[in-house]
């Protein structure tokens, strides 16, 4: 059996005196699909940003296929074959959909091969009709898909998705779940998500973060029955729904 594609050991991030992520050990097998859930402030986003190189950990190590990548710049992590989708759609608003995807495809392919790959991707994320429009003019859900397309354009070995369905309609969410399952056939995926409906659509194993620590890690159905998880996470659903 091969080692994990992504692993963290004793990962810590402190902001001042507050430990947003506190001693997290995490391991993701090749080809696995993992959901990362937890209430607001659980440290999901901070953990995600450390994995993608957007912030540096205070302590602990991150390894990609056994190689230490702790403190790498985002472009270096991306260069290893990690596709990253941020929470707020992060796209090139002034450029066309096609050009957005082209910029992503260029990283791994020569120019003519990239063009062919982009046409295929446009169909896959259902944006062929919008290919020449500036991304800034598209609806929110469509912009999310453009970003997903950019992540996939690079044929990544590992995909990190931060709330991929935020702001999507129900149909868009369902379509995204289909897409993620299809993508998972080819690469490992970590999804940070709030929407439990969506997690149930795609998930097998779920990791629950709470106050910067791993609270539980098991199959989604087991986790959902866990009383501690219900207390810290599901109990919060009485409050106002968060963004």
């Amino acid at each position: 059996m091969t080692g994990p594609i992504l692993a963290t050991r004793g990962l810590v991030k402190r902001f001042g005196g507050v430990a947003a992520v506190d001693d997290v050990d995490f391991a993701l097998a090749e080809g696995e699909l993992r959901c990362l859930i937890g209430p607001n402030g659980a440290g999901k986003s901070t953990f995600f940003k450390m994995l993608s190189g957007q912030i540096r950990p205070t302590g602990g190590r991150i390894a990609f296929r056994g190689a230490d990548i702790t403190g790498f710049e985002p472009h270096a992590i991306a260069g290893l074959g990690v596709g990253i989708k941020t929470q707020v759609p992060s796209v090139f608003d002034g450029l066309s959909v096609r050009e957005n995807l082209m910029l992503a495809a260029w990283r791994t392919r020569p120019r003519h091969a990239a063009a062919a790959a982009v046409e295929e991707l446009l169909a896959r994320v259902r944006l062929t009709a919008e290919a020449d429009r500036p991304v800034g003019h598209l609806a929110h859900g469509q912009r999310q898909w453009v970003e997903l397309g950019m992540v996939l354009a690079r044929d990544p070995a590992l995909v990190l998705l931060d709330e991929p369905t935020a702001g999507m309609t129900h149909e868009e969410t369902a379509a995204t779940a289909d897409l993620i399952r299809a993508v998972n056939a080819r690469c490992a995926i970590v999804v940070v998500e709030h929407d439990m409906q969506f997690v149930r659509m795609i998930a097998t194993t779920v990791t629950v973060l709470h106050q910067g620590r791993v609270l539980a890690e098991d199959h989604v159905d087991v986790v959902m029955r866990d009383q501690r998880v219900r207390d810290v996470y599901l109990g919060r659903q009485e409050g106002p729904p968060d963004a």
Partner: protein, 361 residues
């Protein structure tokens, strides 16, 4: 912008280049050509910031520092060598080296946009004060590099003009300089246009649009920004070489805040994110400023006394006041600049024409 409009724009610029290089010199007076020579130098400087700011997203407030380094490098080298080929190359290479050094610390140090603007401006002002101090003043000891005296505030006069490569005796005359400057301008223009179609250029624009996204795709934004900055510095240096040649003169004025501010105004007025806009704005505003300067020193005598204070019309025709007013007016009424404004106005016309074309049998 549609592909048709892009092709039309390119065709228009080719026509303009042919006109300036082959038609205009046949009937224009020599003094007109001489004026156009300096406008071409300024338009080249405008192009450098149009690239760095408009496409690279790097607000280099002190872009004229590279113009000045280019001019001084040419001046010092030409005086020492007596031949112009190497000095011209130095006038491009030295600013690029300076930009690489400064840019390395700014981009790899992840200096944020506002601080970057301030740093570039400060560097320009430092050069200004250092160059002013080279006269030695009362203490004597004027600074020389080889046989070239830097001359402090008075600058370096009587520079050797560019000669044909390898033949120091074959110095360019006024007309030759015109061809050199205008030819350089259009060469740089088409070169930058080409650069922006390459992968490097597209990624640079993508970084302007969203630096984080570009990095998450695996592009090292620091390296690309440095690349754009260095190329821009080379173009500015070349403009400085043209400028030094035009007047046979270079002085610390090119490093001062007014000189560098006008480059910002050209790009703003012409249109951020376009190339032709800043070029045209540089020429038009230089023309206005020159004409007003001439008028202020000779023709205008009006004055008024208000509340016991005497106001002289000449004081208000100061070129910086004029540029300042132009800047404010454009920021308020044409914030995107002239070129994007014209494009927006022309777009419906193009669309109509296309529709008509389809409707016609």
């Amino acid at each position: 912008m549609s592909a048709t409009a892009t092709r039309l724009g390119l065709a228009a610029m080719v026509v303009a280049a042919l006109f300036f290089l082959f038609a205009l010199p046949r009937f224009a007076e020599l003094y007109v050509l001489n004026d156009i020579t300096v406008y071409a130098a300024m338009a080249t400087l405008a192009l450098s910031l149009a690239l760095v700011w408009g496409f690279g997203g790097i607000l280099s407030l002190g872009q004229s520092v590279f113009f000045g380094i280019g001019g001084y490098a040419y001046a010092v080298a030409a005086i020492n060598m007596g031949e112009s080929t190497v000095p011209v190359l130095l006038g491009v290479a030295l600013p690029m080296a300076a930009a690489a050094l400064l840019g390395y610390f700014m981009f790899y140090g992840r200096v944020s946009d506002v601080y970057l603007a301030v740093i570039t401006l400060t560097v320009s002002l430092i050069f200004y004060h250092v160059m002013v101090a080279t006269s030695g003043g009362l203490t004597g000891g004027q600074i020389k590099i080889g046989s070239a005296a830097l001359g402090g505030y008075n600058g370096i006069p009587g520079l050797p003009v560019v000669n044909l490569p390898g033949d120091p005796a074959a110095q360019l005359d006024f007309e030759g300089m015109y061809y050199f400057a205008v030819g350089t301008l259009f060469l740089v223009y088409f070169g930058v246009r080409w650069l922006l179609t390459t992968r490097f250029g597209r990624v640079a624009v993508a970084i302007r649009e969203n630096e984080r996204r570009a990095e998450l795709l695996g592009y090292d934004a620091r390296l690309y920004k440095l690349g754009v900055y260095v190329v821009g510095a080379g173009i500015a240096g070349l403009a400085g070489v043209l400028y030094a040649n035009w007047g046979g003169f270079i002085s610390p004025v090119v490093f001062n805040i007014f000189f560098t501010a006008q480059v910002i105004v050209w790009v703003m007025v012409g249109g951020l994110g376009t190339l032709v806009g800043p070029m045209v704005a540089a020429v038009a505003l230089q023309y206005v400023v020159t004409e007003l300067g001439a008028a202020a020193t000779s023709e205008i005598k009006a004055s008024a006394t208000i509340l016991g204070v005497r106001f002289d019309a000449r004081d208000f025709l100061d070129s910086n006041v004029v540029l300042g007013v132009v800047f404010i007016v454009f920021t308020l009424f044409v914030p995107k600049g002239v070129a994007p404004y014209v494009q927006e106005k022309l777009a419906p016309w193009f669309a109509r024409r296309r529709a008509d074309g389809r409707a016609a049998p």
